[in-house]
């Protein structure tokens, strides 16, 4: 349907339209309303579901909701126990939030590419990009938050001097201090960038392929979009899982005193 609307602009126009966010404001202070809206709604969904489970939590026979929530909790807790050996009350809930939130973001990918923008256009919204993880702002917001936590815990556990020493004297000893420092800084900064770009790249590319499939004649579309969607179920879970596990690992490294 949208294909007809944007027929004048051609395929490129269709793609660009689908990947343009709904923005207010100019320059840096512009806000991607769709990203903010959808991620907040999805975050609310996550919190609502788990709060419901937490309110009714019993040690007896769990209900369906509690069972599901506990399954996730146990899964996350196992991951944390596997790769994080310090004592920290924040890590596990943080990991749970990341996993569920990123998963829900990615899940928006599985909605047919034209449905929500169509609803939006009926409500007079011209641009609508429904998958928050195809917005660099969203992925970077999360990875930078994680990065801040890494720095915070590195300094808290090792002390400012200990952290500085680690940056300067490792891995090659004090005689190669500038080299060490450069290596370490790159290593640290690579963490949030790789976290954010990995998630963004996977989902952006996935969404792009969905859009490309949507450009094909209708009788070919199911043949391609069905296997791609099935494959994407794996991708979205995997990406959420990777983001969570790497966060745990990075924070675990920040907790390790050499």
């Amino acid at each position: 349907m949208a294909t007809e609307v944007h027929a004048a602009e051609g395929a490129t126009g269709y793609i660009i339209h689908h990947l343009t966010p709904l923005t207010v404001g100019e320059g840096f202070w512009a806000l991607n309303l769709d990203t903010l809206f959808f991620s907040a709604v999805l975050g609310g969904l996550f919190v609502w579901f788990f709060k419901m489970a937490a309110d009714k939590a019993t040690a007896g026979v769990p209900g369906l909701v509690q069972n599901f929530a506990e399954m996730l909790i146990e899964f996350v807790d196992n991951q944390v126990k596997d790769s994080f050996h310090g004592k920290n009350e924040l890590i596990a809930p943080l990991a749970l939030t990341i996993f569920c939130w990123v998963f829900l973001w990615n899940f928006m990918d599985l909605f047919p590419v034209d449905i929500l923008p169509l609803v939006g256009s009926l409500m007079g919204i011209e641009y609508l990009r429904v998958v928050p993880s195809t917005d660099l702002n969203a992925t970077f917001a999360m990875s930078i938050s994680v990065f801040c936590l890494i720095i915070f815990y590195s300094i808290k556990i090792k002390g400012p001097w200990g952290f500085a020493k680690e940056l300067m004297f490792q891995p090659f000893g004090p005689w190669l201090l500038p080299f060490n420092l450069l290596l370490k800084l790159v290593e640290e900064i690579a963490k949030p960038i790789s976290l954010a770009l990995r998630l963004f790249g996977n989902l952006y590319a996935g969404e792009l392929i969905f859009i490309l499939i949507a450009l094909l004649p209708w009788y070919i579309q199911p043949v391609l979009s069905f296997p791609w969607a099935i494959f994407h179920i794996l991708i979205i879970t995997l990406q959420a899982f990777i983001f969570m596990v790497l966060t745990i690992v990075y924070l675990g490294m920040a907790h390790e005193d050499h």
Binding site: I73, L96, N137
Partner: protein
């Protein structure tokens, strides 16, 4: 595609979500998990203990049963022995009683025989006396031969 203030908004949302999860979601769910784990462990331990106790009780019961069986067979043996004894004893007494009865009967028979002999003798004496009387009545005066008569009667009696 450009980075803009959305980043800050997202970071705030993220922080809020993490805080909420940490405060209100993780602890109750995790606690209930731990509590259930403990409950299950306790239950399993109790079950194991129960089983052990059952085994012990079974052993004890077998012992008691065995003892009871032994006791009962002993009792049966004793009873049998006693019964034989009683039977023997009663046989003995019965024989004795029979012997005694036979003796008594023999004595009675002897007595009756004696009595009958006595009666017969008296009758014979009386008959003889009457016959003698009739024979003699003609010739003998009763008063004259009183002492002879009584002498005969005494001899006969």
């Amino acid at each position: 595609m450009s980075i803009n203030a959305t980043l800050i908004g997202q970071m705030i949302t993220f922080a809020l979500l993490v805080w909420f999860t940490m405060k209100y979601i993780w602890p109750p769910l995790f606690d209930s998990l731990e509590e259930r784990k403990k409950k299950i462990a306790d239950g399993l331990a109790a079950a194991e203990k129960g089983q052990e106790q059952m085994h012990l009780a079974e052993k004890k019961a077998t012992g008691v049963l065995k003892q009871a069986r032994e006791q009962s067979s002993e009792i049966v043996n004793l009873a049998q022995k006693r019964a034989t004894e009683i039977v023997e004893a009663s046989k003995d007494t019965a024989k004795k009683e029979g012997d005694r009865l036979i003796l008594v009967a023999k004595a009675q028979i002897e007595q009756e025989k004696q009595q009958a002999k006595e009666g017969l003798r008296k009758e014979v004496a009386a008959l003889a006396l009457r016959a003698a009387e009739q024979i003699l009545s003609a010739e003998i005066d009763k008063t004259k031969h009183q002492d002879i008569l009584s002498k005969i009667s005494n001899q006969l009696g």
